[in-house]
């Protein structure tokens, strides 16, 4: 608490001075003060960014996808810069769910953060196990939802990524949904690397997803032209950053359109992909996102999520909005 008290002497925190009612409810009755979030894997588990801004100022803090056991991740190099973006192949390095619920989650709770843990697995039962362990955490009160990263290789299916297959995705979501109390919304995080993202979205919602997060990285590759071999230790990697934003906007638009047309039940969408400024966030919101995650741009500007919140709120005020939620999906039917 002393840390929080101290904080109030800092410059007034983002949300106090916002001109627009930025609050949003993504399900389960958790009213978030604003729609800004970190993106999984781009913010570690909170302590590091808390040096730059108060992580409790975010709508929610999204943690690095956690699996059952500790994982070393892949060898290096794990990154390559690309035009207006980057490629990464971390290989889901992490401490495992036990360490996460014993150390990371309680710390986030101690600073007053609302947490959206991201979970992952190599099999649908691993996802279920991680969800169950999370539920049993003493810090579970800080959890406002669970994001399920289904862009993981499925060992049971020759390493094909769950998110590329509607059946595999649905199975994971159904099992995770069973492990968690009703008031904890489950978000399926979709991959854009599919022929028809609305088919995967529909399968996830049908299986019990209370919301969708879009998009994960695009599969990409960089070749080291000095040594003429793949630059990443893991050969291919995930492409992220502003360069892919038009793909995120399109994916959100298509899925939201399918909801308007009744092809998918309407659930909230968390938008992510290439957000650098409030203007970028507004693009995703107008396409249909009810919340916004800032990923790669944090590497450029560690306090980007709170900056984007301020910029977004100012833009909404300029455009005469009184409530953030009125801007969600506003570009449809114009």
């Amino acid at each position: 608490m002393s840390e929080l008290t101290e904080l109030s002497q800092d410059a007034p925190s983002g949300s106090d001075e916002l001109a627009v009612d930025m609050s949003v409810d993504l399900g389960g009755g958790h009213r978030l003060p604003n729609p800004l979030m970190t993106a999984s894997g781009c913010a570690a588990n909170g302590k590091e960014l808390h040096r730059f801004f108060d992580v409790a100022d975010l709508g929610a803090f999204v943690t690095k996808s956690v699996m059952a056991d500790p994982r070393s991740g892949r060898g290096t190099p794990r990154m390559a810069e690309t035009p207006s973006g980057m490629l990464n192949s971390i290989g889901l390095q992490g401490p495992g769910i036990d360490a996460f619920v014993e150390e990371d989650l309680p710390w986030l709770q101690s600073v007053g953060a609302r947490v959206l843990p991201s979970i992952a697995g190599s099999s649908s039962t691993e996802y279920a196990h991680v969800a169950a362990r999370l539920r049993a955490s003493r810090a579970f009160e800080s959890v406002v939802g669970v994001e399920v990263n289904i862009s993981c290789p499925n060992v049971a299916n020759r390493g094909l990524v769950f998110a590329c297959d509607p059946l595999a995705s649905a199975k994971v979501i159904a099992l995770v949904r069973e492990q968690l109390p009703r008031h904890i919304p489950v978000f399926a995080k979709l991959s854009p690397d599919v022929t028809d993202i609305t088919a995967i979205a529909a399968a996830c919602v049908k299986a019990g997803a209370d919301g969708l997060t879009m998009i994960n990285t695009l599969l990409g590759m960089v070749i080291d032209t000095d040594r003429l071999r793949p630059q990443l230790g893991g050969v291919t990697g995930g492409l992220s950053g502003p360069g892919i934003r038009p793909v995120a906007v399109r994916a959100i638009w298509q899925v939201r359109q399918a909801m308007f047309e009744g092809r998918i039940p309407t659930v909230p969408i968390i938008g992510v992909g290439g957000v650098r400024t409030g203007r970028d966030a507004l693009e995703l919101v107008a396409a249909g996102a009810s919340a916004i995650q800032v990923g790669t741009v944090v590497f450029n500007d560690p306090s980007a999520p709170v900056r984007v919140l301020r910029e977004l709120s100012d833009l909404l005020a300029d455009r005469g909005f009184e409530r953030f939620t009125d801007a969600v999906a506003v570009a449809h039917g114009r």
Binding site: C42, A44, G75, P77, E81, G91, G94, P302
Partner: protein, 296 residues
């Protein structure tokens, strides 16, 4: 600097370039960055953004802090020494006085200082010597005997020979091509210096191969190596997990640790040099969480 930055001992500021000059193959740049200057310790680094809002280069570039002057005519300044090797460093060396660069820092762990006035050897490869003069000053202020070895491929890639003579008790220069000092590697004169000065610590900064040799030589001659590494970093602040390398912990187990927050300075004998191969580092089989056979 906000109270948060003070407490966190890290800040982000838009720094003005007040001086920039060519030194051999490098550019020596002075930035007005009072927040960083106030907080920094030798061995720490800064991460500079490349370009403005129109820039397609999103990731920051990291540079060892060469020197800080916490106050002065312009407010506190931070100096760095840059070798232009790619798009980002080229942009940085092209900045003129009064241009601004966005800086985050200080980042990473500083060189640990001995509590006793022991003898130390400081080894710098190329621009790797940049952080060592400041370190030398701090060590001598504590009564340490300080010698320095500066090495590079050729004379123009040496940095700070004159400054070294001023700030140390002894200086040895080596170049691969013999264009300055003795021909050879920094590891050649090192055994003699450690033995003669009875050095307990060898501090080193430079390419990985050099850090490995310094570690080996130091160990063989009874000194502890403290090495500042340079891994590809996407964020520099500990959130992306790209900068990892295999390091042995206090529990004797190897983990892939982030060199930006748990480094860049590591005890040389803790680094799993066996895992490095060119610019790649493997995950050792005995690493915590290493892929099991047939596993991920």
């Amino acid at each position: 600097m906000t109270e948060r930055a003070m407490r966190a001992r890290v800040t982000q500021e838009v720094a003005e370039v007040i001086a920039t000059r060519r030194v051999g193959a490098y550019q020596h740049i002075t930035l007005v960055a009072p927040g960083v200057a106030e907080l920094a310790r030798p061995g720490q680094f800064v991460a500079l953004a490349v370009g403005d809002d129109t820039s397609g280069n999103l990731l920051r570039r990291s540079f060892s802090i060469h020197k800080v002057s916490p106050s002065g005519t312009y407010g506190g300044t931070v100096e760095i020494v840059v070798s232009a090797v790619g798009a980002g460093t080229r942009w940085i060396v092209e900045r003129a006085p009064h241009d601004t660069i966005d800086v985050v820092g200080p980042l990473g762990k500083a060189f640990p200082l001995p509590t006793e006035p022991v003898a130390c050897v400081l080894v710098g490869g190329g621009y790797g010597s940049a952080p060592l003069f400041w370190l030398a000053g701090e060590l001598r202020a504590r009564g340490c005997h300080v010698e320095m070895v500066l090495g590079a491929a050729s004379e123009d890639r040496l940095f700070g020979v004159v400054e070294a003579r001023r700030s140390c008790d002894g200086v040895t220069v080596t170049t691969d091509d013999g264009s300055a000092g003795q021909q050879g590697w920094v590891s050649d004169p090192l055994p003699e210096i450690i033995e003669r000065t009875r050095a307990s610590v060898a501090y080193a900064c430079g390419p990985m191969g050099m850090l490995e040799s310094v570690t080996r030589v130091a160990q063989a001659h009874g000194a502890v190596a403290q090495v500042a590494v340079e891994e590809s970093m996407a964020c520099g602040v500990g959130v992306c997990m790209t900068c990892v390398m295999p390091v042995v912990g206090a529990d004797d187990r190897t983990r892939m640790v982030r060199s930006c927050v748990e480094g860049p300075v590591f005890r040389g004998d803790r680094v799993r040099w066996d895992a490095f191969e060119g610019r790649h580092a493997r995950v050792p089989d005995d690493c915590v969480g290493a892929p099991k056979v047939g596993g991920h």
